[in-house]
């Protein structure tokens, strides 16, 4: 096994509802992988399962292995997980204010991340490293600032500096720029890509924004209804989507075409646990037939494939 992250048959349930089903994915060293889906698709739950941060009554089963960690992350106790989190595995959430400690100066928070994992020899070295890390995210003078004194974009950059402090082998970003303005988003995205490239870290980037994924990532996984419905290199998936959901999603987000009316996906995303059995997309799919009541098998390889009974023909233009 040489991938950084290997998730196998991850299933997340809460009481009798299944929220994520049979999700398998791998992230190779230095690879940037995007996970896209609309709200309720299970993309954030997948990330939280990897981090071991699921809420109390939500249960994950399956296997999550991380390179350099000799145990499965699913079912590992808090003591072992906390050694991994912030060291080999780091996450940037959407809302930076809740990720930062409001009563601590940001410089101390960045230094603390390194002191906890003993990756620096002492307090003075930690402080120097924190200054350098904050400088790299273009925040040279905020060492003594409190989070509330910073803007949203600045806070998100502090969180990024914190996440990258121990050179993690995998950085997970869960909608890191959704709350930011576009010009600030551009800057944060660039810092994320530069940060993981400099460290040869792998990136798992979760978002609902197709254009952001296409700009940041090399490979993309499309989630709907708690399952991965399609995966492949960004260029292939976005120019020649095979799953009908991916096809609809790309058409619906194509604001560039001159036409006034956008192609839409009929209906709404069902509530969690209310997805149909068989193909999860069949209730909104124009191509659905009786066979869609059985779960579609995965066609193609692990790196490029889809799960659909009536796939779109290959090499069809994205806006067809």
């Amino acid at each position: 096994m040489n991938s950084v992250l290997a998730v196998e048959d991850l299933t997340v349930t809460v009481r009798d509802k299944t929220l994520v089903q049979d999700v398998s994915l791998t992230v190779d060293p230095g690879e940037r992988v995007g996970l896209i889906g609309e709200s309720g698709s299970g993309k954030s739950l997948t990330a939280l399962s990897v981090m071991g941060l699921l809420p109390e009554d939500v249960h994950a089963s399956g296997s999550v292995r991380l390179a350099g960690v000799d145990h499965d992350l699913i079912g590992a106790d808090e003591r072992r997980l906390s050694r991994v989190r912030g060291r080999q595995l780091a996450i940037v959430f959407q809302e930076p204010m809740t990720a930062l400690n409001p009563t601590m100066r940001v410089g101390d928070q960045v230094a603390e991340a390194m002191l906890i994992h003993d990756t620096v020899p002492g307090r003075r070295a930690a402080r120097a490293a924190a200054i350098e890390l904050l400088g790299r995210v273009q925040l040279p003078d905020v060492l003594r600032a409190y989070p509330h004194q910073l803007s949203g974009g600045q806070r998100q950059r502090v969180v990024l500096a914190l996440a990258l402090a121990n050179d993690p082998s995998l950085l997970i970003c869960d909608e890191p720029t959704t709350a930011l303005d576009v010009t600030v988003q551009a800057m944060v995205l660039d810092l994320i890509v530069r940060g993981v490239t400099d460290r040869s870290s792998a990136l798992l980037f979760i978002t609902h924004d197709l254009a952001v994924v296409a700009t940041v990532c090399q490979r993309v996984l499309v989630m709907y209804g708690g399952r991965i419905v399609e995966s492949g290199p960004v260029n292939e998936v976005f120019t020649s989507p095979r799953h009908r959901y991916t096809q609809g999603l790309i058409a619906a987000s194509d604001l560039e075409s001159a036409d006034r009316r956008l192609p839409t996906i009929p209906g709404n995303v069902p509530a969690a646990g209310q997805f149909p059995n068989g193909c999860v997309f069949r209730t909104r799919c124009a191509h659905a037939t009786e066979i869609c009541a059985t779960a579609p098998p995965w066609s193609g390889t692990a790196s490029r494939g889809f799960a659909c009974h009536h796939p779109a023909p290959a090499l069809e233009p994205a806006d067809a």
Binding site: E38, S39, D181, V182, T183, V184, Q185, A186, M187, L189, D190, I192, V193, R194, H208, D209, L210, A211, V212, A214, T215, V216, V234, N235, F238, T239, G248, L249, I250, A252, S253, D254, L255, E256, R260, R261, L262, P263, T264, I265, N268, V269, A271, A318
Partner: protein, 299 residues
């Protein structure tokens, strides 16, 4: 009725009158004093904004958070007052009109807000929410009209019996739109109406707004931080930055050839699928030039 605004009903409206005219509007918000010796600091939310929206036009306002676009909307809707300047809606100067004379505006100009959960009363049934603008303005609220509105926004008639929390985000936004259309307004103001929605639902709501504006001959003011959404919906756009309009023009032109440096930065920051598939990286988003000459063309 000795109401001066009555002179300005649509029958008297000359053809040349713009639907909305904003002239050199300034809005200062005083902040609490921080010192006994110095005057209270002032936030200059709008610094001399002028614009004209013609009747039937689809006008977009784009800008980032804090640029003053919401303040401008509130002033146009007479929910806030100017520090100086003038606002004329359908030929009537509303700048200093008292609330009791604003009835014509409350009927003719309606708003759709960003967050449909906080702009719909959770304790009211949907049919009462939609009928409320009619009731408030003293019209009889007929079940007929409510059903008609529900149908117009693509909701089933029995949706009227339910409460807002029983609907998804996109459906709630449809309810907000139905409520806004209830008094048969001529001007519809949409403040970030699709920013909280998923991509597949966003397309539905954008189509709905587009169709209704066409069918009902509305004047649309569409505010968003997302220039690509504005480009899709609007004919003309004003770009706001730090309380000023830095650029105005036909949407296609502003998008294709932005003149002001801020607009250039804004346009180049927007990640788009075609650009990304053509090889644009995050560094290109920062470069400050639109990526049509994709690489190596740093400003």
């Amino acid at each position: 009725m000795p109401d001066p605004t009555a002179n300005h009903r649509p029958s008297d409206l000359s053809v040349a009158d713009p639907a909305i005219r904003v002239v050199d509007v300034v809005r200062d918000y005083p902040r609490p004093r921080t010192s006994l010796l110095r005057p209270a600091p002032v936030v200059r939310a709008l610094r001399g904004v002028s614009l004209e929206v013609q009747a039937g036009e689809r006008f977009g306002i784009v800008g980032e958070s804090g640029c003053g676009k919401s303040t401008l909307l509130r002033i146009i809707a007479a929910l806030d007052r100017v520090t100086s300047g003038q606002v004329v809606v359908e030929g009537t100067d509303i700048t200093h009109l008292p609330e009791r004379r604003l009835r014509f505006l409350r009927e003719n100009l309606q708003l759709v807000f960003q967050d449909p959960m906080s702009s719909l009363d959770p304790r009211m049934r949907v049919r009462d929410i939609i009928a409320e603008p009619l009731v408030v303005q003293g019209h009889p609220a007929s079940g007929e009209r409510v059903r008609e509105l529900l149908e117009a926004v693509g909701l089933s008639a029995d949706a009227g019996d339910r409460y807002p929390h029983q609907f998804s985000g996109g459906q709630r936004q449809r309810i907000s739109i139905a409520r806004a259309l209830a008094p048969r307004p001529r001007i519809l103001i949409a403040d970030e109406p699709v920013s909280a929605l998923d991509v597949s639902v966003r397309a539905q709501v954008l189509n709905l707004i587009s169709d209704l504006v066409d069918e009902l001959n509305l004047t649309l003011i569409f505010v968003s931080h997302d220039l690509s959404v504005i480009k899709h919906v609007c004919d003309r756009v004003a770009v706001m930055n730090a309380g000023e309009i830095v650029e105005t023009g036909p949407t296609g032109d502003v998008y294709a050839a932005p003149a002001h440096p801020y607009t250039r930065r804004l346009v180049s920051s927007i990640p788009t699928l075609p650009r990304a598939l053509a090889g644009a990286t995050t560094a290109d988003l920062l470069s400050g030039t639109p990526s049509d000459p994709p690489k190596g063309a740093l400003a």
